[in-house]
């Protein structure tokens, strides 16, 4: 018998008891649907996350001080002069910006808003891929001339100035006042908590406001993805030598962040895969059970087929094929349901469901595999029947 004939025989048998076939394969349907929907949501989320992380620039790295316990004097504090030096001696570093953070209340002509205020330099616009909506970002002269200027985000601008044009307006921070020279596009990334707005001022202004003589972190951007590790290592070793503080600096790249995000997603996927695997196992046992019943019920048919010349292997393959087709049908229905479910969830969560073709291939192979594995025993029982005993059975 060729595949087509086996298919016809299997389908005829499945069709002859539709409801039972459906109930039998329900375990597989649910298992596969669970896998597909979770994978679809997971892959969609992952793709989205990666896309967002990539927006920050894959060449990005961050250097920060790993303060030791009980440390009183802090010779290892990062300085703006460190950055000037590193940019001069490490060719792999393309851009490098200092960052200091603080929470501040900004007041404008129409309202006020508490934002995360960052002291930084002109390079940050490149390092973080910031998009300018109006005006410009901070520049070198702002820093050297000690200009009282600020760059804010679109949403902040609306809160502070309403419908007025923000450029050239004054923002009051505590007792000082700065002029708005630039407005950044609102970041729509899901990773960004949009209720938290950022505003950017020069390092010197920050120092005046807070009295801080050090910087919190250094944001760097390497010349290429491949150069990130070297750039990080060299930056660290310069800092260690300059401050005579080996082991005091940590650096992480966006690449590493992506990898660890990937790893977490991988573990989540594994756990879900395990649960799905268990449900498929249960489904498979259901299939085996029904196939055994089917073999018993169809003993006479088996006897007749044997009397007509079916070899044991013909009977074995017939029942195996039936079990595989049954599971595969469950797999197909499950895939459709799973994708539908993922689509609904994704619609609500605002990210695209993503099912790669190999997920579907694996789902199909897996359900066929379940059919094969759990069909083997019943099919073997069928093939082992003695023709005369099978024929005599009512």
């Amino acid at each position: 018998m060729n595949i087509r004939e086996l298919m016809v025989v299997a389908l005829a048998s499945i069709r002859s008891s539709k409801l039972r076939s459906f109930l039998t394969t329900l375990g597989i349907v649910i298992g596969i649907a669970a896998v597909i929907s979770v994978v679809a949501i997971g892959q969609g989320g992952k793709a989205m996350l990666m896309q967002e992380l990539e927006k920050f620039g894959t060449n990005l790295f961050v250097v920060y001080v790993n303060y030791q316990e009980g440390e009183t004097s802090r010779p290892s504090d990062l300085q703006v002069s460190d950055i000037t030096l590193i940019k001069n001696v490490v060719p792999e570093v393309k851009y490098m910006a200092p960052v200091c953070y603080t929470q501040m209340k900004l007041r404008g002509s129409q309202g006020q808003k508490t934002v995360q205020l960052l002291g930084t330099s002109a390079d940050l616009v490149h390092v973080n891929n910031l998009e300018i909506a109006q005006g410009r970002f901070l520049n070198e002269e702002d820093e050297s001339a000690g200009r009282q200027v600020i760059v804010i985000q679109e949403d902040t601008a609306k809160e502070l100035f309403g419908s007025e044009k923000p450029l050239g307006q004054r923002v009051v921070i505590g007792s000082t006042s700065s002029m708005v020279v630039g407005v950044l596009k609102q970041d729509t990334s899901v990773l960004n908590d949009n209720s938290r707005q950022s505003a950017y001022i020069t390092m010197s202004l920050m120092r005046n406001m807070t009295g801080w003589t050090y910087i919190h972190q250094i944001y760097g951007s390497a010349t290429s993805k491949e150069a990130v590790d070297t750039a990080m290592e060299r930056t660290k070793s310069i800092l260690e030598r300059r401050h005579n503080a080996p082991g005091h600096y940590e650096a992480r790249s966006m690449e590493q962040e992506m990898q660890s995000a990937n790893k977490i997603l991988g573990i989540v996927g594994l756990v879900i895969g395990l649960i799905a695997g268990i449900s498929l196992l249960v489904g498979g046992i259901g299939v085996m059970n029904i196939m055994l019943v089917s073999v018993t019920e169809r003993t006479r048919e088996i006897g007749i087929r044997m009397a007509l010349g079916a070899r044991r292997q013909d009977i074995l393959i017939q029942f195996l094929f039936e079990s595989i087709v049954l599971c595969l049908m469950g797999g197909i229905i499950g895939t459709i349901l799973g994708y539908g479910g993922a689509y609904v969830v994704a619609k609500i969560a605002h990210w695209p469901p993503l099912v790669s073709w190999w997920t579907i291939v694996i789902a199909f192979l897996f359900s066929a595999g379940v059919g094969l594995f759990f069909g083997l025993y019943p099919a073997n029982q069928a093939a082992r029947l003695k023709p005369i005993e099978a024929l005599r059975r009512e």
């Binding site: 018998m1 004939e5 005829a12 048998s13 002859s16 006479r300 048919e301 007749i304 087929r305 044997m306 009397a307 007509l308 010349g309 079916a310 070899r311 044991r312 013909d314 003695k386 023709p387 005369i388 024929l391």
Partner: protein, 244 residues
């Protein structure tokens, strides 16, 4: 063609053992038409199952086409059942979820005959059985006689040398029984060896030879001097029906 020597079959059912065949010896030549008779429980079906390689003997030898059957493997059994032997059963044994046509195709499917060739032959056989307008019907949509003709068509699918029929007319009325015997006689004329188990003396009289079993032994092996002609009986019946 068939040579049997001291064939025995013992059923071991745990508590008791039944000696169904207690040493049978006979030969059947190619082209013979043999009827097997005997009381219920005398071992007729047991003998047919052994002849058809559906079961194996407990002792003795069975030589089929110059081959000692006990030397064969299971897959040879399947091949012989498929190609050399055609079975006709009392209860037809058609697959209920297959149409007449597909039932007739089954043995050819196991023989590896291509779909088109198989369909053609199955159609031809059903036509010969006068069932051309019923070939897409399922067994439960056909009468007993029609079902038995489908079963005969199926037994002929791979053009076997031997037809084994265990009480083929047992479930049929006398007229349909005659029709079945007519078909067998015609097949026999074409050279097919036919072995029929029956209870009815007048059915047995259509054969050329009658083997009588009793209690697992062969008690009589008679040549029928003038076998009845089922075809003639049928046409005279038809004439009678026409004259009324």
């Amino acid at each position: 063609m068939i040579a049997i020597n001291d064939l025995q079959k013992t059923y071991d059912t745990g508590s008791i053992t039944v000696e169904a065949l207690r040493g049978l010896s006979f030969n059947i030549n190619k082209g013979e038409f043999v009827a097997i008779m005997g009381a219920s429980g005398s071992g007729k079906s047991t003998l047919m199952n052994l002849l058809g390689l559906l079961d194996v003997a407990s002792a003795g030898t069975y030589i089929l086409n110059q081959t000692e059957v006990s030397a064969l493997e299971e897959k040879d059994f399947a091949r012989i059942r498929n190609k050399e032997i055609g079975f006709v059963f009392q209860t037809f044994n058609l697959l209920p979820h297959l149409t007449a046509l597909h039932n007739v195709e089954l043995p050819m499917m196991y023989a590896g005959v291509k779909l088109a060739a198989r369909r053609e032959r199955a159609t031809l056989l059903l036509e010969r059985m006068g069932l051309i307008d019923r070939m897409h019907h399922y067994p439960n949509e056909l009468s007993g006689g029609q079902n038995q003709r489908v079963a005969i068509a199926r037994s002929l699918a791979n053009n076997p040398a031997i037809i084994l029929a265990d009480e083929p007319t047992g479930a049929l009325d006398s007229h349909t029984s005659l029709e079945v015997m007519d078909i067998f006689q015609q097949l026999n004329l074409d050279g097919t060896t036919i072995i029929v188990v029956t209870h009815e003396e007048n059915i047995a009289q259509h054969a050329g030879r009658i083997l009588r079993l009793s209690d697992g032994l062969l008690i009589m092996d008679d040549i029928v001097q003038e076998p009845l002609d089922a075809g003639q009986a049928l046409s005279s019946l038809r004439k009678e029906a026409g004259s009324i």
